[in-house]
């Protein structure tokens, strides 16, 4: 057992002696949380627009003012000819051009419809869609308000409640997602690379002939990564809570236990990958394609699963992060307990066992 302790110590030293790796190990979750928290947003804000006002009358000016003062748009330029529209959109200087037809105000008042054209750069279709919705909303509001704001604000006034997430903070999505991503990265990818490295450099053979048993080698490799992953999980939860005010409505202990389960799942995946790859580069590419991209894309982290084609929805079911993210969201945000997430927990447990057995089997074959 003494030699085992020495081996674990060696593995810790490998990681901790290298300040760069350590910095990144802890810098990565922080940077990701910050970026997701502050940078990644679908908010419509200060979208650059141009106006081609052929009317220059009361209605067109008032609508223009309303658009600019809404905060959603910022007026980049006024155009003087319809020919200018295409170049400014193509150069990407503005995202939308609003064109008022001549004599707009009169037409509007006289009962002939006044026409506004919204020309949007739809190379980003969702943003284009949002921009058009917001612009037309403002214009319709204006039309109604001309009737007299006291008497008739607008007929239907929907009361909106954003469930679970009042201010539409992205934090509710990205904290669980980032946790899954980071734990996958550290647990699965780093262990698979670390084991492949010993193989590539031939040091695995040295370890194999030493009195340390094969399973001890593997466990020794895992321990440092378990510790690191767990610390990272705690850091992410703490950041989410203290910096972004993300509540932990459910049981913290249950959350941490589920995280440990997910870490074991990722580790067994990592070992499995290392048994099939004989170089670090191969291990990295398998991890990248097999783990990272699915974690980001097929787990519901960024893109809602229900929008995907059916085939991908099925595939997403075998993606471990999907279940972990569901569990984290249920516990943290909805405050549910095991009663709610027992099914997901069982699925993760089953996956862990499956990968673990597969890894052990492959590992043995290789030894013989």
């Amino acid at each position: 057992m003494n030699s085992f302790a020495g081996f674990v110590k060696k593995e810790f030293l490998h990681i901790f002696r290298d300040p760069r790796t350590l910095l990144i190990l802890f810098g990565m979750p922080v940077a990701q949380i910050m970026i997701f928290g502050y940078v990644i947003t679908n908010e419509i804000k200060d979208i650059p627009i141009a106006i081609f006002d052929q009317a220059k009358d009361r209605a067109s000016r008032e609508i223009s003012n309303k658009l600019v003062s809404s905060g959603y748009f910022s007026l980049k330029m006024n155009l003087n000819s319809i020919k200018e529209v295409e170049p400014v959109l193509r150069q990407g200087e503005v995202k939308e051009v609003i064109v008022f037809e001549p004599d707009f105000n009169n037409k509007m008042e006289s009962g002939n419809k006044g026409t506004v054209q919204l020309l949007t750069d739809a190379s980003d279709p969702n943003t284009a869609n949002l921009i058009v919705s917001y612009t037309s909303g403002i214009i319709r509001d204006y039309a109604l308000s001309r009737y007299g704001s006291e008497k008739m604000p607008s007929l239907i006034e929907p009361k909106i409640r954003m469930m679970y997430n009042q201010d539409l903070k992205g934090v509710f999505m990205f904290v669980p997602g980032t946790m899954a991503l980071i734990l996958m990265l550290i647990s699965a990818m780093m262990t698979s690379i670390s084991i492949s490295r010993e193989k590539e450099l031939g040091t695995m053979e040295v370890l194999m002939v030493s009195p340390i048993k094969p399973f001890q080698i593997v466990v020794g490799k895992l321990i440092p990564y378990i510790v690191l992953s767990f610390i990272n999980a705690v850091v992410i939860i703490a950041l989410g809570t203290f910096v972004f005010g993300l509540p932990v409505r459910g049981s913290l202990i249950l959350l941490l236990l589920e995280s440990l389960l997910f870490i074991s799942l990722a580790l067994s995946l990592g070992i499995l990958i290392s048994t099939v790859s004989n170089s670090q580069m191969v291990a990295m590419f398998i991890s990248l394609i097999g783990l990272m991209l699915p974690t980001i894309l097929l787990s519901g982290f960024i893109y809602p699963i229900e929008n995907m084609p059916l085939i991908l929805q099925w595939i997403s079911n075998i993606m471990p992060p999907k279940w972990y993210i569901i569990i984290v969201k249920d516990i943290m945000i909805k405050g549910e307990g095991l009663r709610f997430v027992w099914k997901e927990t069982l699925i993760m447990l089953g996956m862990t066992l499956f990968f673990m057995l597969a890894a052990i089997k492959r590992f043995k074959i290789r030894l013989e």
């Binding site: 679908n42 979208i47 008042e109 969201k329």
Partner: protein, 372 residues
């Protein structure tokens, strides 16, 4: 010059002999295009809306019909069991619940505001934002029509009297794949170019072959050129391959000049590979450099505007993006492919990127030590 040829030739032999990397070069683009493109969709087609109609009047029904007519909504009627709707939302089976109160129709007829309630599942803030925008649009269209129909207010003032026409330029059908495909190409080219070249350098360090090169008269720039050129060609090939797949399977428009796109990509690749090679000079093991890659690439990719508009980012992030090569490429590849932008439209990006390329390559040559 001839020395570089021998270095390049060696890399190619190694690459083509690698049983995993070679297939990977072809599998990666196909996989990314066919799987990621379908996965990465924010197209809202199937918003699950639970309707709780307590009014049951002509007015309330026509509001529901209005939602039903929209291609975005999938209506489920929960009027009989309003409690269940929220439970279903907790289980993510419902995205939005609309409650129409029982005096809705009556109030509308009297031109009093009729309140409806919208409960939106907002755990995914971005999605909730879209649902909100779509729903408000439907409601305000409904209002406008209702108003002009009933003549509740003088017609000339109703919003029915402004004709709002919109045209979506460059992507008439709002095809989300046209938006994502160039973005995925950017990631493909970046991962292939940057990782392969830098990893192959660090691998030589790890295996010790680099010493044999360091005792030879090969110059620093020659050695780095030998690591850069092969993977630069590979990455350009990947771009061509990816574009072909995109063209065949997704009919992605190529409105601008392909020559311009490849010229820009060439500059971009030098910049990104310069960064990779610089990383490889400050690391000793492949594990270390992979870590560095993941860190920087995740930051670069998220900030580049892959899925959210750069304009919505805070000012400091936009300023930081001056240093982010991916942000330039992400913008320019969409401009050239979708908008048909020309050289003068992307001149500023080319200049900035060239500067990054020169600086990073310079740093890599400077940091690479034949003697330690």
């Amino acid at each position: 010059m001839k020395t570089i040829f021998y270095l390049v030739q060696k890399e190619f032999i190694q690459l083509f002999r690698n049983r995993v990397m070679l297939p990977m070069m072809f599998v990666m683009p196909i996989f990314q295009m066919l799987v990621l493109l379908y996965a990465a969709t924010l197209e809202m087609k199937d918003i699950k809306m639970a309707v709780i109609d307590l009014d049951h009047t002509q007015a309330s029904r026509s509001l529901v019909n209005k939602f039903e007519a929209s291609p975005f909504y999938n209506i489920i009627d929960y009027s009989a069991s309003s409690g269940i709707a929220e439970e279903e939302m907790a289980r993510d089976r419902v995205d939005v619940i609309i409650t129409i109160p029982n005096e809705f129709g009556e109030k509308l007829n009297k031109a009093e505001p009729g309140d409806v309630q919208l409960l939106i599942n907002a755990i995914n803030g971005a999605k909730a934002g879209l649902i909100y925008a779509y729903s408000m649009n439907v409601i305000s269209q409904y209002t406008a029509e209702f108003v002009s129909l009933k003549g509740v207010i003088p017609q000339q003032y109703s919003s029915g009297n402004i004709d709002i026409r919109y045209r979506f330029w460059f992507n008439e059908e709002l095809n989300f794949k046209f938006f994502m495909l160039p973005g995925i190409l950017v990631i493909l080219v970046t991962v292939m170019g940057m990782a392969l070249s830098a990893l192959s350098l660090v691998k030589e360090k790890e295996l010790g072959t680099i010493e044999q090169i360091n005792v030879s008269p090969v110059r620093k720039y020659q050695f780095l050129a030998g690591k850069l050129i092969p993977f630069w060609l590979v990455a350009l090939f990947e771009l061509a391959f990816g574009l072909t797949i995109g063209r065949i399977f997704f009919d992605i428009p190529i409105r601008g000049s392909l020559l311009l796109l490849f010229a820009f990509s060439s500059v971009y690749l030098v910049a990104i590979m310069g960064i990779g090679l610089f990383f490889s000079t400050i690391t000793q093991t492949q594990q270390q450099i992979m870590f560095l890659f993941f860190f920087f690439n995740i930051v670069f990719i998220l900030m580049s505007g892959l899925f959210t508009p750069v304009e919505s980012m805070p000012q400091w992030a936009q300023t930081l993006n001056i240093l982010n090569p991916l942000a330039y490429f992400m913008k320019v590849i969409r401009m050239i492919l979708l908008k048909g932008s020309e050289l003068q439209d992307i001149l500023a990006e080319i200049i900035n990127l060239s500067m990054i390329a020169v600086v990073m390559l310079g740093l890599a040559v400077w940091r690479y030590r034949k003697t330690s």
